[in-house]
């Protein structure tokens, strides 16, 4: 009985967080817009979008998942997940054919890192939106 009460107390509030997190993934800052935090949502959207666009303009490459030795698996699968975390930006880039092949050169390398970093920043935004949706944070 006491366990049930404790579990209910720890459970997220009735407001569903799935939709918030899904929207936060698809549109960076979208979760914050949905939760009526437009200022913060706009800052997140601008940061992730500009970083992603800079990565594309530097002709950064999108990672494709590859397995092999541990380092290859971590770099390529992790990089792919990082790219994927940008949500619609990643999907539109691939669908519209803007994904670049991997090329030698330091600027391309910066671009590849910018693309992954944009996705990772969006992961932070998704976690923040989740915490707001579940009431752990205001």
């Amino acid at each position: 009985m006491a366990t049930n009460v404790k579990a209910q107390a720890e459970a997220p509030p009735a407001r569903g967080w799935y939709g918030v997190v899904l929207l936060a993934w698809l549109v960076p800052g979208g979760g914050h817009f949905l939760l009526k935090r437009p200022g913060r949502g706009a800052l997140l959207l601008a940061s992730v979008a500009i970083m992603f666009l800079l990565g594309l303009m530097m002709r950064g490459a999108m990672f494709q998942p590859q397995t092999g030795d541990v380092l290859t698996t971590i770099i390529y699968c992790g990089g792919f997940l990082g790219d994927l975390a940008s949500g619609l930006f990643y999907l539109l880039t691939v669908w519209l054919g803007y994904a670049q092949p991997d090329m030698a050169g330091h600027v391309h390398d910066y671009g590849t890192k910018f693309l992954v970093a944009a996705g990772l920043l969006n992961v932070l935004a998704m976690v923040d939106a989740y915490e707001i949706a579940t009431g752990e944070k205001e």
Binding site: R40, A46, M58, R59, H106, A125
Partner: protein
């Protein structure tokens, strides 16, 4: 799509700027705290960038 060529320094500064904005927005509870934290993160990024740059230069001789 236009092509952009950035130096390492310019790319690192832009990376620091946008990362600091996101870190500031998601970590603190009031707008003032967010602004302070974002500025502090950006200053740390730049200090690390310049410090590590000098370390590598001196290390190479």
């Amino acid at each position: 799509m236009p092509k952009m060529n950035l130096s390492h320094f310019e790319a690192a500064i832009l990376f620091a700027l946008f990362s600091s904005v996101v870190l500031g927005v998601i970590t603190k509870r009031t707008d003032e705290e967010r602004l302070r934290y974002g500025v502090r993160c950006f200053a740390y990024f730049v200090a690390a960038l310049i410090g590590l740059g000098w370390l590598m230069k001196l290390g190479h001789g």
